[in-house]
């Protein structure tokens, strides 16, 4: 059996495939066999490197040489120079855009810094059900440092100086939140971890809890010490059974080690954590609603102030942070605020985890430094748009976010820029859409979600969002009027201005951002009764092209509602009044004579 000395990894991602990566593989193999090296060197097609902009990519292992923009005809050179002579082909090496230097070792490429795993540092590396693996990766070293070397004020100061902001969506400065909670005195205080992740398609928090539960436990303990709370609660949705299981195991192990419980690290500080299960209401991710739900009350928000830091769980000062926020805490304590605050932008420090989804090649969980552009995320990490189609929009911030367009692609991602662009950071959903997406339908989809998930407490959210979604429905059905567009904008603005909680205040974002960025598409639906993306069924018209139709009658025979008529061997016609747009005719037509208009 062959024991390969060298591997040539050729990117097989969609982008590179389009630029003939298969041809590169076959050329490489040809060259190798010519040289009699095919038992020593293996050529293999891999998944997407994500670096489609500079594709096709060939990576040589074990020396990690990274060749970009390789053409099939470069195969001979690579084999002759690199494989045989051990000399790197300089012209194919990646050029650092900043210092124009050619970089031979992929480990030193800035590209790899596009993704920086801080919150996800242990996910996929350690066994989440084994506390020892966490400990051996500097786990519980932060709480040890806090309890043996630091005062509560120092901890809060460190978190404040780090610039960490809430990762649940709002982006409130975490250190400030802790400080407020610490200053409100009470016989009992609480620390609550918000693990009620509810954005459709978002699973950042679940992944952290499933992959690295101890980091959250450790962070909550640090939080407890900082604000003077001895009880921690994790509000987690019941439909996350694995995360619950891993948390239970982790809490059990931490208790056995004495890392939870009485007198932690002999410091006299007591802290313990309990789980509280949510039934999956989106609105319970809002901190006041979450607290009411934990108290056994109806999960609906109350007006702030009072903030939970003043009067939260059981009317006691309570600090609520989200899972990802917590996952950042231990490493901030260990490496210091200065280190953390060097990452990111001026007002948004550190990294953000996103669940990258939609019409993108590398659907996945990514963690990127704040300030990265949407373009970098979509094209360099996400591997570009599926099936080589055109990018149309990216939706960030979940159902409360907005749809951004081409013109926003070079906007550095941070809390403030996204809001300025009409969207928001949210908890980290990022859905990429191509030209087959109808933006009116997208807005309708998100509105339908909010309508379902509104708690129903305040009028604008309960009835207003319902009316918004009804108007959108009317437009997608081809019954919209210009007055509806006006009503849509006015109503959306009023909802934003008057709704009680963050859910309601942001729920019109998908409508407003699509109106702003894709206004023509609305106009097209209303005025021209047309949906160019071909999504809105009511607006589609099936038409037979007389030039291509040979009168084979296949379509007429298969139409379930007899909407197609015509003489044999003569062009057929579809009666659009009768047509139910089922598509059976298109499927049957062998002459591509039927199209949707």
């Amino acid at each position: 059996m062959a024991k390969y000395k060298m591997h040539l990894l050729v990117c097989g991602g969609t982008g590179c495939s389009a630029s003939a990566s298969a041809q590169i593989v076959s050329n490489l193999n040809e060259e190798l066999s010519k040289q009699g090296l095919n038992n020593d060197v293996q050529v293999i097609l891999t998944g997407c490197f994500g670096f489609c902009e500079k594709g096709p990519i060939v990576k040589v292992m074990p020396d990690n040489t990274f060749y970009t923009e390789v053409k099939p005809e470069d195969a001979a050179t690579i084999v002759a120079e690199h494989v045989i002579k051990g000399r790197k082909v300089t012209r194919l090496l990646y050029t650092d855009p900043e210092n124009k230097e050619r970089i031979s070792d992929s480990k030193h490429m800035g590209f790899y810094k596009k993704q920086l795993r801080i919150a996800l540092r242990n996910c996929g590396f350690i066994d989440p059900e084994n506390i020892d693996e966490y400990v051996s990766n500097e786990g519980y070293a932060a709480i040890a440092k806090v309890l043996t070397e630091m005062t509560a004020e120092q901890v809060i100061d460190e978190v404040k100086r780090s610039g960490l902001r809430g990762r649940g969506g709002g982006g409130f400065p975490t250190g400030l939140k802790w400080e407020i909670a610490s200053k409100n005195h009470a016989d009992q205080k609480y620390v609550v971890c918000n693990a009620d992740e509810g954005d459709p398609g978002a699973f950042m928090d679940r992944s952290i809890l499933e992959g690295d539960p101890h980091s959250v436990i450790e962070a909550m303990t640090i939080n407890g010490f900082a604000i003077g709370a001895t009880k921690g609660l994790i509000y987690i949705r019941a439909e996350y059974p694995l995360a619950i299981h891993r948390l239970q195991v982790a809490i059990g192990q931490a208790r056995e080690y004495g890392l939870l419980g009485k007198d932690i690290f002999g410091s006299g500080f007591d802290f313990d954590i309990e789980l509280r299960y949510g039934a999956g209401a989106f609105v319970c991710g809002e901190e006041t609603a979450l607290i009411h739900s934990m108290e056994g009350l109806r999960g609906e928000p109350t007006f702030k102030p009072p903030f939970p830091a003043q009067s939260g769980y059981m009317q006691k000062p309570t600090n609520v942070n989200n899972v990802e926020t917590y996952a950042n805490i231990p490493i901030i304590i260990l490496k210091g605020a200065d280190w953390f605050s060097k990452i990111g932008t001026e007002k948004s420090k550190g990294t953000k985890v996103f669940a990258l989804a939609g019409q993108i090649n590398n659907v996945g969980l990514i963690e990127v430094p704040m300030g990265i552009t949407l373009r970098e995320v979509i094209y360099e990490i996400g591997g570009g748009i599926k099936n080589g189609r055109a990018f149309k929009a990216v939706q960030t911030g979940g159902p409360s976010g907005g749809c951004l367009t081409e013109k926003h692609l070079d906007t550095p991602i941070d809390y403030d820029n996204l809001i300025a662009a009409g969207s928001m950071m949210g908890s980290g959903g990022m859905v990429v859409m191509d030209d087959t997406s109808c933006m009116v339908s997208i807005a309708k989809f998100y509105l339908e979600f909010t309508v379902e998930e509104s708690c129903g407490k305040c009028t604008p959210c309960r009835i207003g969002n319902k009316r918004l979604s009804e108007i959108l429905d009317k437009i997608t059905k081809g019954n919209g009027t210009m007055a509806d567009l006006e009503a849509l904008r006015n109503l959306a603005a009023v909802i934003k201005d008057t709704a009680l909680c963050g859910l309601g205040q942001t729920s019109p974002n998908p409508v407003l951002s699509t109106l702003d960025n894709f206004g023509n598409e609305y106009l097209e639906h209303v005025r021209d009764k047309k949906c160019s993306a071909g999504v809105c069924k009511s607006l589609m018209k099936y038409v037979i092209d007389a030039e291509h139709c040979v009168g084979c009658t296949a379509c007429a025979r298969n139409c379930p509602v007899n909407a197609i008529s015509g003489e044999k061997k003569m062009p057929h016609v579809i009666n659009t009044e009768l047509c139910i747009k089922c598509g059976a005719c298109i499927e049957r037509c062998k002459f591509n004579a039927i199209s949707i208009k």
Partner: protein, 590 residues
């Protein structure tokens, strides 16, 4: 008191620190409309969900509009209550509410008194720009209260009143989003819930989602039937509130005009529930003294305290929540039912009318009375002692239907004998009144001495839970009083846990007693109206020539001619009742 300096609509205002914008504005005469905010001043009840969003105002420096009901005034705050942005938002919010509201104002019980209707008028809404799905719910007809949740605007006042004020827990919000609605457990009918029919939810509802069962039609039909002799009785609290329906100040005493109006409407006999209240004192007072004597003599078969049982909401409450104490309340029927029992026996015999041909109508400040008169215990061969119980509001409707110029009516007296009453009977209409009336009589019976000073001011007041000790010539009698069922629960829990020892306790389900009853003119959360009625009750008492129940000559006559003695055999049959464990009836159907 600390103050902050703020500006409301460019007007410099000194507002109380800690106050919400809504109240600070009201204090300087700027009315910010709201549909959900509701409070009962002095009764520790505030519904402030901040949900209707009608009271939103512009606060300088804030990104979004702020709810005036839930935003605290801060030094230097600049508030615009009616800016263009505010008016547009407020109008849109009300239009949204209307878009999910049936346009059935023509026949709605709240029409003309509806806060939503009034606001829509004020905002000049002439069409509803939003067309779409409307909420559809089954109409829930209970014996006393009708729920039409199609009309609900989710203000949550009923929920707060039911849970916080009354601790009944029959109503709470269910479902999410557009489907969110206030409902009973498992969305059962009210009749199958823990509802006591106290009706405070009806009193609080800003729209017509909650209303009382209206029986004015049946009353008119009975009067128009020549074969029927129709007798009407009016409860004490009605006479101090009815005038409000005719533009009079709350607390105006209209006893004489009311009697006149009832005659104009065509009732054959215009009697007074107050007569039956005096009768109640005879029965309940005697029962109290008997029980006290037995307990003092070491009889273990009875226990104290004795609880008043005049209030049907309260009876329903303890039948559901204090089933271990069903032997504690007095067995005396309520005045409404005593009246019906006497009218259909003693009086019917006297005037030679068959029971079946007599119709007894009661005018009550109460919604639960409608339920009470339908209880099986209060029927003979299916014929109820009281046929119809209508509220103060329904009586006002009748008077208006008959085009009676109420305010210019000359005062008239009730008919005798069942119209004669004492001051002790009138105070049944206010919290503490029943026990004070009982004390006036019990004192004289117990001590054998004449009571010169009949005003037991220690028993009066509007504090939720009160207690006092009355000296019965050397024997201290401990009395507890609660109004509002939440307060009653607090008091009863103390008794149940052995933390309090009382000889007698008076409970009224509604805040303020019957003057604050659910059948009274809507006060829209202005509790000062209830306070004025409360004061009027004591004025009416003070003006009465006789102020002790046992001195009512017609009561004496009734015992002489018919009943024999208080708590005697005939009384036992006609004037006393028993209680049921209702906790088991609250179950999920099907």
């Amino acid at each position: 008191m600390e103050f902050v300096n703020i500006k409301i609509d460019d007007k410099p205002v000194q507002a109380q620190k800690g106050q919400m914008i809504l109240k600070a504005a009201r204090a300087v005469g700027i009315e910010i409309p709201t549909l959900c905010y509701y409070e009962l001043n002095g009764q520790q009840l505030e519904n402030r969900p901040g949900g209707c969003r009608v009271c939103v105002v512009e606060v300088a420096g804030r990104k979004n509009l702020a709810p005036a009901c839930a935003t605290e005034v801060m030094e230097g705050m600049e508030i615009k209550t009616h800016s263009l942005r505010v008016v547009n938002a407020r109008r849109t919010v009300v239009e949204l509410l209307l878009s999910d509201h049936p346009a059935s104002c023509l026949i709605c019980s709240k029409s003309g008194k509806c806060e939503l209707q009034t606001l829509a008028q004020k905002l000049g809404i002439r069409d509803i720009p939003f067309k779409g799905e409307q909420s559809m719910y089954k109409k829930d007809d209970s014996p006393a209260i009708i729920r039409e949740m199609n009309k609900c605007i989710m203000c949550r006042r009923c929920e707060t009143v039911c849970n916080k004020l009354q601790t009944v827990g029959a109503l709470s919000a269910v479902n999410r989003g557009f489907m969110a609605v206030v409902a009973t457990a498992f969305e059962q009918d009210l009749a199958h819930s823990t509802c006591t029919m106290c009706g405070q939810c009806v009193q609080a509802c800003p729209v017509g989602a909650l209303s009382e069962v209206n029986q004015t039609r049946q009353v008119i039909q009975a009067i128009s039937n020549p074969a029927k002799t129709v007798v009407v009785q009016t409860a004490p609290a009605v006479r101090v509130a009815l005038g409000e329906e005719f533009g009079l100040e709350p607390g105006t005493i209209v006893t004489g005009q009311m009697a006149a109006a009832l005659r104009r409407i065509g009732f054959d006999y215009v009697f007074d529930t107050d007569f039956a209240a005096d009768l109640t004192i005879m029965e309940e007072g005697t029962e109290l003294l008997e029980r006290i004597s037995k307990v003092m003599a070491g009889d273990k078969s009875v226990r104290l305290p004795i609880l008043t049982s005049c209030c049907p909401g309260w009876v329903n409450f303890f039948e559901t929540n204090y089933t271990d104490m069903l032997d504690v309340p007095s067995t005396a029927k309520s005045p409404q039912q005593m009246f019906g029992a006497i009218a259909k026996s003693y009086w019917a015999e006297k005037i030679g009318v068959k029971r079946e041909d007599m119709v007894v109508v009661s005018v009550m400040p109460c919604v639960a009375k409608k339920f009470e008169c339908q209880r099986d215990e209060f029927k003979e061969n299916g014929n109820p002692d009281v046929d119809y119980s209508i509220t103060t509001r329904e009586l006002a409707e009748l008077i208006k239907q008959f085009n009676i110029d109420f305010n210019s009516l000359a005062e008239e007296d009730f008919d005798n004998p069942l119209g004669a009453s004492t001051g002790a009977a009138v105070i049944f209409g206010a919290t503490g009144g029943v026990i004070e009336a009982a004390t006036r009589t019990a004192y004289e019976v117990f001590t054998g001495k004449t009571l010169d000073k009949v005003d037991f001011t220690a028993l009066r007041g509007l504090e939720g839970v009160r207690s006092a000790t009355v000296d019965f010539n050397g024997t201290p009698i401990h009395i507890g009083i609660a109004h509002g069922l939440g307060n009653a629960r607090r008091l009863l829990d103390m008794v149940r846990n052995g933390e309090a020892n009382f000889h007698a306790i008076e409970v009224m389900a509604c805040p303020g007693g019957c003057v604050g009853g659910a059948g009274q003119p809507f006060h829209h959360g202005d509790f000062s109206k209830v306070e004025k009625r409360f004061e009027a009750i004591y004025r009416e008492d003070a003006g009465k020539p006789i102020r002790k129940s046992h001195e009512n000559p017609y009561i004496k006559q009734l015992y002489d001619e018919f009943l024999g003695k208080p708590c005697g055999e005939k009384s036992h049959h006609l004037l006393h009742t028993h209680y049921f464990d209702k906790s088991k009836q609250i179950e999920v159907e099907g």
